[in-house]
Symmetry: C2
Subunit: 335 residues, 2 copies
């Protein structure tokens, strides 16, 4: 049996629960959880905002831990290995996207906390392919948020070939954005932080921004016209997208990893003249996750976290709901 923190109904109290994970699949590994980050999408699942949550609900998709058991067919990991796991826990390995390296777009990809139990638990099982070994130079206790918040913003830099000579903007300096600033600074880019929180300006610079622009000041945004090669939006709110499109230079791209309530509308004339693109992307494949881990170890990049013991999970969810942690909450296993 595996002990876990479960909610029995949408937004309900967390209770200690146990579940039977069944027989090990031959390609599974079992991970003794050491810590697990808390992400806004845990909140969305917890409140059943997307209508896909199964109860009892055990969230948690920023897992760091140690391999405790491996299935018969697993040859790449062994007990004692330090690994991390994110939103995805299994893919078919045979469909065209999987065969093409895009396991994150597998047609039957499994999500760790949708229809199964996630990382707010003493242990969790996932397909070995999705358990990513931590480089020795990476501090495991802070690594959790890399596996969702981190890879979400690292993936588009790889997918769309962001170059060290690019001028890049990051909209929203929170759990995702504070990692994007660190990545892009180490990537060699000119980095601008767009934030509506004046108090974050200094922190944004410490995290790697060379410049800070008020994301809700239309005049300031107008002055940025034509400047950017790439603007990465991490926010889930509706902005004046037309001004951000206008801030893109030739071949510029406005890329979102957040899901604002309303559609992003662009007049074709704004796209045509400067050959601009708008796009989105999901979390990355295992190959890209591993590139990110190496990159983080080489450049001493790590999430800024607030820690709580996992038994205070209810308090942690409330803290996330009430405000903005600086910048990510991590729950330490205290089972």
């Amino acid at each position: 049996m595996i002990r876990a923190w479960a909610a029995n109904e949408a937004a309900g109290a967390f209770e200690l629960a146990e579940y039977d994970p069944g027989a090990m699949k031959s390609d599974d590994v079992e991970i003794a959880v050491e810590s697990c980050g808390l992400c806004h999408s845990d909140m969305s699942l917890y409140e059943d905002e997307w209508g896909v949550t199964k109860f009892p609900f055990v969230g948690g998709h920023e897992v760091v831990g140690t391999i405790s058991k491996v299935g018969d067919a697993v040859t790449t990991l062994k007990p004692g290995d330090k690994v991390g796991v994110g939103w995805f826990s299994r893919s078919c390995l045979t469909c065209n996207p999987c065969m093409g390296g895009d396991h994150n777009m597998c047609r039957s990809v499994e999500q760790i906390a949708v229809g199964r139990y996630g990382g707010f638990a003493e242990a969790v099982r996932v397909q070995a392919s999705w358990a990513n070994k931590l480089p020795e130079d990476l501090k495991p206790e802070d690594a959790g948020p890399l596996f969702c918040g981190g890879i979400t913003v690292f993936n588009p830099l790889v997918q769309f070939g962001v170059r060290p000579t690019d001028k890049v903007g990051v909209i929203g300096i929170g759990g995702l954005g504070h990692l994007a600033l660190q990545f892009l600074n180490a990537w060699g880019c000119e980095v601008t932080a767009f934030t509506s929180t004046g108090a974050k300006a200094e922190e944004a610079k410490q995290l790697g921004a060379h410049r800070v622009v008020n994301s809700r000041d239309d005049e300031a945004l107008k002055a940025e016209a034509g400047r950017y090669d790439f603007i990465l939006s991490t926010v889930a709110s509706d902005l004046n997208w037309s001004l951000y499109l206008n801030a893109l230079g030739p071949r510029g791209r406005l890329h979102t990893v957040g899901v604002p309530p309303k559609p992003i509308a662009a007049h074709a004339a704004q796209l045509l003249g400067n050959q601009r693109s708008i796009s989105g992307s999901p979390l990355g494949s295992p190959a890209t996750i591993r590139q990110m881990l190496d990159f983080c170890a080489r450049h001493a990049i790590s999430p800024k976290v607030e820690r709580l013991p996992m038994s205070r999970i209810g308090e942690a969810f409330q803290k996330l709901k009430d405000g903005t942690p600086r910048y990510r909450i991590v729950l330490d296993n205290d089972f």
Copy 2:
């Protein structure tokens, strides 16, 4: 003096006019016009739809002719050379886009029929860089529409790396779309034509489409879900873009070269999961135009045109306004 067909007011009658082109610039060439295609954007300028037209207005931006004079500094072209010119007639050659090969995105690019006189004339002058020599195997009499309609749909295939293994859709089978079908068939792709005109289905297949889908049949579009790598829209009307986005597979791109009246709206959730993009592009650079001309010569690609003598220019504009020529009108110089 150069004789030309001019309108003295928006949508006014065409009259024979003369203008003094002044001294030859050192990097200019003068082209004796043989024929010039008629494009929907000539109509937009003629009716001053965009508010940028200068009167008297001499349109025409799909010029084919023979070099008659060259400026002092021109070393790459000589009298007698057969050339073609499109929407752009001069660029600075020094700004970053020009220096990077993106002369079509030059910060001070000159448009041949905006604030100067275009190709519905006996002659026209342009910067030598923008006069593109026709390959010997290309029939000059039909080549005109390649320089606007053609390059507009060829350019995105180059810019966004469309691959011969891609499944590609073309929305709208008109002046642009009928060339896109030919390009994409020769490019090696699986080609689907989206058209609302049932009568065009058979012609679309003759032009290179392997499949035809009714562009206004929502059920038919739903059945295309996840199929396409690239969808190229050539239409200037508002469609149900959500269905077209849904028709894109992983890494798919919806690209428009037409300008519909309303913005194209996409919910971020439709972009994220499959890493989809929406984009637009302008006409191509001289380097891309020359790639297109070689490609057309090698694959015997040519516009399907209806011909009229240039003196019947008023009738030609009326014909374009009344209906859809199959697929492009070309005016032959009869000065």
